[in-house]
C-alpha cells in the first residue's frame, strides 16, 4: 500500500511537472500567433513596410517559443502509456483516434503554414503569406481542442458507455463528448487565457524596449495592439471563467467547495475575498474553516448559478448528500457513504463478471454486467474507505483560485491603464515605473495561468475521472524507483530547455533591438 502511494505520488508529480512545463509554451503559442496575424494584416492593409518589420520581430519570438515547445506534449502521452496504463485503457476512445488524428493534422498544418510564415516572405504573394499566418494561428488553437475536450471528459464523463467486456468506455455520442458546456468553456477559457498571456508578453517586451529607449516606435505600436488584444482576451477569459465556475458547481460541487474552503453551505452563500485556510480543519469538526475572512455577500451563489438565492453546498453537505431546494426544503440525495457502497458493489460485480467469464457462464456474466452498470456512476468510490478521502486538497485549490482571479483582475486593470496612457497620456509612456510594471507582469501572467490548471486538476482530486476512477486505481504496475528516475531526468531536461529558450529569446531581443526593427534587412 505504501509503495502504491509512493508510485501514485511520484507519477502525479511527474505528470504535473511535464504538464506545467508544457503549459509554459502552449498559451504563448496560441496567443502570439494571433497577435502576429493581426500585425501582418495591418501590414497587408496599409502596405507600410514598418509593419512588416514589426511583424517579423514578433514572429521570430513566436518561432523561438514554437520550436522550444514543440513535442513537449508528447511526453504526457508517454506517461499515459507507461505510468497510467489502467487509466489509458479505461478511457478508451477519448484518448485514442481523435487525439492521434489531431496530432497528425496539426503537425502537417503547422509544418506547411509555419514554413510559409518563416520562409515565404519574398517567395509567395502578400495575401498568401497572410493566409498562412492566419491558418497557423487557427491551427494552433484547434490543435488544443481535442486534448481539452479529453480533459473536460475527465471532469465530466458524458457521451460514453462503459463496457465491462472491453474494460473501456465506448463513445456513443460524439456531439455530447465534444460540445458539452464543460468542454466548450474549458476550450475557450484556455484559448482566451492564452491571448491574455501573449498580450502581457508583448507588453512586457515592449516595456523593456521603452525602458532601454530602443525602437520606441515599435514598442508603442506593439503596446497598443497588445493592450487591446489583452483587454478583449481578458473580457472573454472572465466570461468563460464565469461559465466554467457554473459548470464546476454543476458537475464538480466538491471542487467548488474546495475552491472556497466551504464546509457548510448556505442559501445566498458569500464568496471569500480575503482569508486564510485553517490547516487543521477537517470535514465534520467544529473548527473555523477560514481565518481572517472578508467576504462578498451572495458572491458564491452568484458565481455558481447567477442567482443570489442559490444554495451552494459545502464539503460537509456534499458528503452527506444534503441540498436546499429553491423552495427552501432540505433534501437528501446520494451521500458519500451511499456512493462508496455502490462503488464497492460495482467492483464486486465486476469481479463476478470476470469469474463468470472464465467459467464460460454467460447468464451469470449478463447478471454481473447489469449489476456493474446499475452502480457504475459511482464506480470510483469503490476504491475509497471513507468519505473524507474524496475531499481534494483544500488549501492549494483555494489559494490557486485566488491567485488566478486576483492576477486576472490586476491584468485587466493593467490593460485599461495602458490603453488610457497610449491614447490620453502618452508622456507617461516614458516613465520607468510603467516600464517596470509591464516587465514584472510577465511572470504574473504565467503564474496566473498555471494557477488555473492547479484549480482544475488539484481541485478534482482524488479523481482522475470524476466519480469513476481515482488516481490510485489509474496507476500501472511500475516501481517507485523508475518513476523517480524519470522525474529527475525531466526536471533536468526541462530546466535546460527552458534556460535555452529564455537565453535564445533574450539574445534575439537584445540583438534585434539594437537595429531598426521597422527596417528589416
Amino acid at each position: 500500500m505504501n509503495d502504491l502511494l509512493g508510485v501514485v505520488d511520484w507519477s502525479r508529480a511527474q505528470f504535473a511537472l511535464t504538464a506545467m512545463y508544457h503549459w509554459l509554451f502552449v498559451p504563448l503559442t496560441i496567443g502570439l500567433s494571433v497577435i502576429v496575424a493581426i500585425m501582418e494584416s495591418i501590414y497587408v492593409r496599409t502596405g507600410d513596410p514598418k509593419w512588416k518589420g514589426i511583424t517579423k520581430f514578433w514572429m521570430t519570438l513566436f518561432g523561438i517559443n514554437f520550436a522550444c515547445g514543440v513535442a513537449t506534449g508528447i511526453i504526457l502521452e508517454f506517461e499515459f502509456g507507461t505510468n497510467w496504463s489502467n487509466y489509458s485503457w479505461f478511457v478508451g476512445d477519448i484518448f485514442g483516434a481523435p487525439l492521434a488524428i489531431e496530432g497528425i493534422v496539426a503537425f502537417f498544418m503547422e509544418a506547411t503554414f509555419v514554413a510559409v510564415m518563416f520562409f515565404g516572405w519574398n517567395k509567395v504573394s502578400r495575401r498568401f503569406h497572410l493566409t498562412a499566418t492566419w491558418l497557423t494561428a487557427i491551427g494552433v488553437s484547434l490543435s488544443a481542442l481535442w486534448i481539452l475536450v479529453a480533459n473536460a471528459w475527465m471532469q465530466n464523463p458524458v457521451g460514453m458507455i462503459f463496457d465491462p467486456e472491453q474494460m473501456r468506455n465506448v463513445m456513443d455520442n460524439f456531439t455530447e463528448v465534444a460540445f458539452n458546456s464543460v468542454a466548450m468553456n474549458k476550450f475557450f477559457h484556455a484559448v482566451f487565457s492564452g491571448w491574455v498571456l501573449a498580450a502581457v508578453f508583448v507588453v512586457g517586451v515592449s516595456s523593456w524596449l521603452l525602458w532601454r529607449r530602443r525602437n520606441v516606435d515599435t514598442a508603442r505600436k506593439s503596446l497598443k495592439i497588445a493592450s487591446w488584444f489583452g483587454l478583449v482576451g481578458m473580457v472573454m477569459t472572465m466570461w468563460t471563467g464565469d461559465g466554467s465556475a457554473v459548470e464546476v458547481a454543476r458537475v464538480q460541487p466538491m471542487k467548488l467547495a474546495a475552491m472556497e474552503g466551504l464546509y457548510d453551505g448556505n442559501v445566498g452563500q458569500s464568496l471569500v475575498a480575503v482569508g486564510f485556510v485553517n490547516p487543521d480543519k477537517k470535514p465534520g469538526d467544529d473548527l473555523e474553516a477560514i481565518k481572517g475572512e472578508i467576504s462578498i455577500p451572495y458572491g458564491l451563489s452568484i458565481l455558481a448559478n447567477h442567482d443570489p438565492d442559490t444554495f451552494v453546498p459545502g464539503i460537509n453537505d456534499i458528503i452527506e448528500g444534503r441540498t436546499i431546494t429553491a423552495g427552501g426544503d432540505t433534501v437528501y440525495g446520494d451521500s458519500y457513504a451511499d456512493r462508496i457502497a455502490m462503488g464497492k458493489a460495482a467492483r464486486e460485480a465486476l469481479s463476478r463478471y470476470a469469474a463468470a467469464k472464465s467459467a464460460g457462464d454467460t447468464a451469470a456474466m449478463e447478471q454481473a454486467k447489469a449489476d456493474v452498470m446499475a452502480n457504475f456512476r459511482y464506480f470510483g468510490y469503490g476504491y475509497l474507505d471513507k468519505p473524507e478521502e474524496a475531499v481534494p486538497p483544500v488549501a492549494l485549490t483555494f489559494y490557486s483560485f485566488r491567485v488566478m482571479v486576483m492576477a486576472g483582475g490586476y491584468l485587466m486593470l493593467l490593460f485599461i491603464v495602458l490603453l488610457f496612457v497610449c491614447y490620453r497620456r502618452t508622456a507617461v509612456l516614458e516613465k520607468p515605473w510603467l516600464h517596470w510594471l509591464g516587465i514584472i507582469s510577465i511572470p504574473v501572467v504565467w503564474i496566473c495561468s498555471q494557477a488555473g490548471w492547479i484549480v482544475a486538476e488539484v481541485g478534482r482530486q482524488p479523481w482522475v475521472i470524476q466519480d469513476l476512477m481515482p488516481t490510485r486505481a489509474a496507476i500501472s504496475d511500475v516501481t517507485t524507483g523508475s518513476v523517480q528516475l524519470t522525474f529527475w531526468i525531466f526536471a533536468v531536461l526541462f530546466t535546460l530547455l527552458l534556460a535555452a529558450e529564455i537565453s535564445i529569446m533574450l539574445r534575439y531581443i537584445s540583438r534585434a533591438s539594437k537595429k531598426n526593427i521597422e527596417q528589416p534587412e
Binding site: M1, G63, A67, T82, K123, L350, A473, I504
Partner: protein, 78 residues
C-alpha cells in the same frame, strides 16, 4: 509528370533556401533536433514502454489485465 517533379523540386528548394537563410533558426534547429532525439531515441525507447501494448498480445488480454488490476490489485484495506 515533369511538372509534378518541378513542383516537388520547387517545394524542396523552398525549404532548403529557407533553412539556409535562417539566422536565429540555426540554434533553434539544433535545439529541436537534440530535444527530439532525447524524447524519442532515449526517453521513449528506454524509459517509457507502452505497458499494455508490449506486455500483451491482444486487446482481449489487455482488457483482462486491466479488469484484474481494477478488481484485485488496487483493493484497499477493505
Amino acid at each position: 509528370m515533369s511538372s509534378l517533379t518541378d513542383h516537388i523540386a520547387a517545394v524542396v528548394r523552398f525549404y532548403v533556401d529557407g533553412f539556409k537563410s535562417m539566422t536565429v533558426g540555426r540554434s533553434l534547429w539544433l535545439l529541436i533536433i537534440i530535444k527530439l532525439f532525447i524524447i524519442f531515441a532515449i526517453l521513449k525507447l528506454f524509459f517509457f514502454p507502452d505497458k499494455l501494448g508490449s506486455d500483451y498480445d491482444s486487446d482481449a488480454e489487455r482488457a483482462e489485465a486491466v479488469r484484474n488490476a481494477l478488481i484485485i490489485n488496487k483493493q484497499t484495506t477493505d
